[in-house]
Amino acid sequence: MDEARLTRASLLAESSLLAVVGADCSDPPNLADQATSLFLTVHGDGSVQAFNGHVDLGTGIRTALAQIVAEELDVAFERVSMILGHGGLGPDQGATIASETIQITALPLRRAAAQARRYLLELAAVELKVAPENLHVNDGTVSCDDGSNRFVGYGELLGNRHHLLRLTDDVALKPVEQHRVIGRSQPRVDIPAKATGSFTYVHDMRLPGMLHGRVVRPPYAGIDAGDFVGRSLIAIDEGSIAHVPGIVKLVRIGDFIGIVAEREEQAAEAAAALQVTWKPVPSLPDMDDLAGTLRANPSTPRLLEDKGDTPKALAEAARRHRRTYLWPYHLHGSIGPSCSLADWQPGGLRVWSGTQNPQVLRRDLATLMGLHEGQVEILRLEAAGCFGRNCADDVGADAALLSRAVGRPVRVQLTREQEHAWEPKGAAQLMEVEGGQDAEGGVTAYDFSVYYPSNGAPLLAAILTGAVSSTPTVLQMGDRTAIPPYDYANRHIVCHDMPPIVRAAWLRGVSSLPNSFAHESFIDEMAFEAGVDPIEYRLRYLHDPRAIDLVKATAERAGWTPRTSWGSAGSEGDILRGRGFAYALYVHSKFPGYGAAWSAWVADVEVNRKTGEVAVTKVTVGQDSGQMINPAGVKQQIHGNVVQSIGRVMKEEVSFTEKAVATKDWGDYPIITFPELPLVNVLMVDRQSEPPLGVGESAAVPSAAAIANAIYDATGVRFREVPFTPERIRKGLGIPEPLPAPSAEPARGRRSRGRLLGYAVAAAAAGIGLLSNFTPWRSAIEPVARPLPGVYSDATIERGRQLAAIGDCAVCHTADGGLPLAGGRRLETPFGTIVTTNITPDPDHGIGNWSYPAFVRAMREGIHRDGRHLYPAFPYGAYAKTSDADLSALYAFLMAQEPVAASPPETRLAFPFSLRPLLAGWNALFHDAATFKSNPEKSALWNRGAYLVEGLGHCSACHSPRNRLGAEVKGPDHLSGGTVEGWDAPALTALSLAPVPWTEAELFTYLRTGFSPLHGPAAGPMAPVIASLRDVSDDDLRAMAHYLADLRATRTSEAEAAEQAASLEARASTSMPPSLSQGARIYEGACAVCHAADGPTLWGSRPSLALNSNLQAARPDNLLRVILGGIDTPAYAELGYMPSFAAAFDDEQVAQLLSYLRSRFAPDQPAWTDLARRAGEVREILRHERLTRADGGS
């Protein structure tokens, strides 16, 4: 299947060839002419290539088209390969839309195959010297009917020449009774390669010398109309990506920004890091009042039908009903973000693309790049299912611009966030109905208006670069199935054509799905008003015989029982059952358009009357598809439409900020999952002698109304807005909100960084008064030669290695990605950034010339060899407790390490902290240089633990609060929790907020593995500490765990802890179903995969949020840091990693998520407040930390 590499030249070079070419090409046909389009070729080896202008969007038309060709040409299916959407060779049949391929664009191909067969039979008749009617064909071999054993193959008949046939329409097609390929289920040709990784999607296309590109989109996410579009970029800080290796070029044209790099992750890192200044983005209209916004959007009414006298009929009606139906914005939601590869050459441009419109893209790219159409070649490869116009075309233009900028092939893949935010959405839609009923309940008048804000979504790069105007065009596409299928006597149907509000284009079912939602909901309501069964009522107005047959057959298959009031399906406990019907003929294309397959649904639902959750439990779906080419393919399309549309109707809705699209990931935009699948019972009507009809969309069209009608049947309440989320159902049913409303009290919690600094300055100044009592300047200790190897025994060095591990020496004295112990790590403190020093034994840059006494002085008193005071970020307060023997071993270990001849930048704190002599006063106040004294009342194990925890382990450096001068608070607050580098280090004492008390065993497990099943993983600054403990013996870790467990007033047994954990897990799992609120849905879509107790088995740990103390903390900072920063350096790889969600969630979404997490997993704690603001602050802090790290030249 190497269709992307097929060229006209390769065909011309073949010695034997039959080609059926377009009727509009030159006469006689010339294969060398670029304008000659091909429908079919038969080759000397008997193989067949068939061309169609449409492409396979994942629906399997490649297989069905090959079946058609095999049937009409009389060859085995396996001989036929399809060439789809080949811009240079195949016919231009427009975009692959509206389920047209089998119904419309396959027709000339089918004739071409029949024509080729007729021609080949004529050749065979001459060759075999019998009349054509006395020949028959079996798999491309023509035989005589006369009983003689004479036969000839199609390939042989061609001889050494080219046969060119212009397509005619006077050729007879095979009668249905002779079909042996059409109508038989055929396994799809593409699945074996797809299931084994050998299929080439556009995402998998690579060229020699190819570079990788990423784009940076403007902040007006998902908006492509307005004066500001293409004119909002103020400045780019190129220095912000100077640290990223491999950057080839930064490209800016108008508001278009792209980065080209040698490697994909380099381009991605640079695109994420690039600092861009944009103009403020104007506000969108109120997207929370979607109906109002659609009504107010400038529009032009277009009368589609005016039958009878609707105003008069309404005026005379016994009852009048005004109804409004509303449809939200939906995503196409391709699972693979769009991708394209472009190769710009002096002669022109080649683009490998997953587009559904190769011909349109070719024209658009020519315009954008200033080329003639003939200079642009589109090579269409399959992509992730698109269901309409997603970003496939846009990314082709992105790749083209970047390839031109660097003169090499460039592959661009969008991020998930970009695809979600910028894809042209399936448009929101408003339907307004006014209907009249007569005294008997019959509909006498139907006044219908539809508002549909969508167009074709012009190529994004063309708008961002200013090549195309950002004034939106208006397409007339709101009219699909706007005429109801019911023959009301008076009908007045109007479509309000309008430009998009946000970027929008067609999505599966286009405007038909919402229009049918209105038609089918309204007639259902009228039926119950009239006291008539809704199917019987519909049949009064339905005159299309195939529609009537389908409706009756579907009702029968479902076992429909007539009903005239809701509630007939019964209930059980809190579950109300209901059943609903809807029918549609999907009428599409330019008005008045034509119909694809007919479809009807019977939906069964269960509604929870307490939570508002709705489960679609069963769908019986009937479809009249005309002639089915591949019945298995038709069934698969019906299944796909049913399953996908249930997700759309029940769950899906794009969210917006005041200015742009907010939806950027699957958390904010959940789609259907496996546990939500209903039973699906498919009825396929046998119409093999009728023409084939499009089946790619029809079965989706009745979905919303069938489900809404079923919910009515269950509850007695009509829902006229999609999606039917639990919030909407609760509101409709008048159920009070189960979630506590967020508290409005102002933020509590910590003081701001600025205030802390203020305290510290004042206190430092006070400290100056104490200077007279202590010597602020200390003498240098003479440098010595580094001790020779062999001075210390291996055993001593090994003991030193373990002690260094407990002391975390390498944690602070190693930069990110730097050499061990060579320093350079930046520690953020309230007094400024401290850069750690090189403590390798290099004489000039490290501590190679430090004598042992100089080392001991540093460890016990915080004095550099040269007499300078060290800042107490170096925890000499704790290290002082270390025994002489251990210090000696530690010295031995450090001196035995590989020297590194490099110095990290010097620490430069601002005044007054730049004055190191002040630390003499600080030491006088806070420092105790005494070594550890054991407690004779405690066990040896306890004392060993205390020695390590309080000494080298320096746990209190992070886990104790500090006073205004940055000194640890002693006494009862010792180890009662502190902060380090923006993280809350939890209390290790009885003040711990851990939902389950820490036991000695859990502490040991945590210190040993970095993960406690009853608490969670080590993260943030604790992760490298755990990693450092890797080298520490089990005995020492047990001692530490023993001592730490004793810090709690009461001990908890392992069994009690496990029991508590189980009960907390149980409470969390039952307290809040995951679909109750937007925050809950974000959790379900983004977090639960790795955190839900019953989630799939995935590599890495599965931290329980119900047991995690960060959910219980007074402030949300640790959680914010993990969510926005991710975990890219766990203590041990097998604990797993966590991505940063900073690009996926805005501050408001983070706040929604955290509110939910807090209320579900820490229900006993007060709600966090002001979360969005704090999320923004932490986001900014993390950005600053990243920049600082990047500056550090890691």
Partner: protein
């Protein structure tokens, strides 16, 4: 940045990769080893299109850096079988037509493979739970479930 070669075994073959430790595993597999089975879907572990096996356990390759698999065995879709000789799970997906566009197919097959390695007698509810966080936009769920059940049945019959 210090770059030392990181050793990893992929589909049974050893590789020494001189790449930064934070290089996403998915990029290494696709761009350096040209294994196209695992797909980029979201970069957040939400959709599962990138799923591979690490030491036989399903893993989201988009969120795991190269350093995370140092010294481990990684298996991709290509490592299960080929078009000519598909693995039992791949064969089941081909037979039961468990794909439309097929972009999510890698993740579905790898999750089912990992589940059946661990629990060969997994039933339909367990399969649904295991695939809950693997997203499919085409709505091929019914065929995918059928494929997974077919694989489980075959495995029970033939071991």
């Amino acid at each position: 940045m210090v770059t030392k070669a990181i050793g990893v075994t992929v589909n049974g073959k050893g590789h020494e990769l001189a790449l930064p430790p934070k290089t996403p595993l998915l990029n290494v597999l696709r761009n350096d080893l040209e294994l196209n089975g695992p797909k980029f879907g979201c970069g957040l572990g939400e959709c599962g299109a990138c799923t591979v096996l690490i030491d036989g356990v399903a893993a989201r390759a988009c969120t795991i850096p190269l350093a995370g698999v140092e010294g481990r065995h990684v298996t991709t879709l290509e490592g299960l079988g080929s078009e000519g000789a598909p693995d039992i799970v791949q064969r089941a997906f081909i037979e039961a037509q468990g794909a439309q566009c097929g972009y999510c197919l890698n993740g579905m097959i790898m999750m089912v493979k990992a589940l059946l390695l661990r629990r060969p007698d997994a039933g339909v509810e367990e399969i649904k739970r295991e695939l809950r966080y693997n997203l499919c936009r085409c709505g091929t769920h019914l065929e995918i479930l059928e494929s997974a059940l077919l694989a489980a049945t075959r495995l029970r019959q033939h071991g």
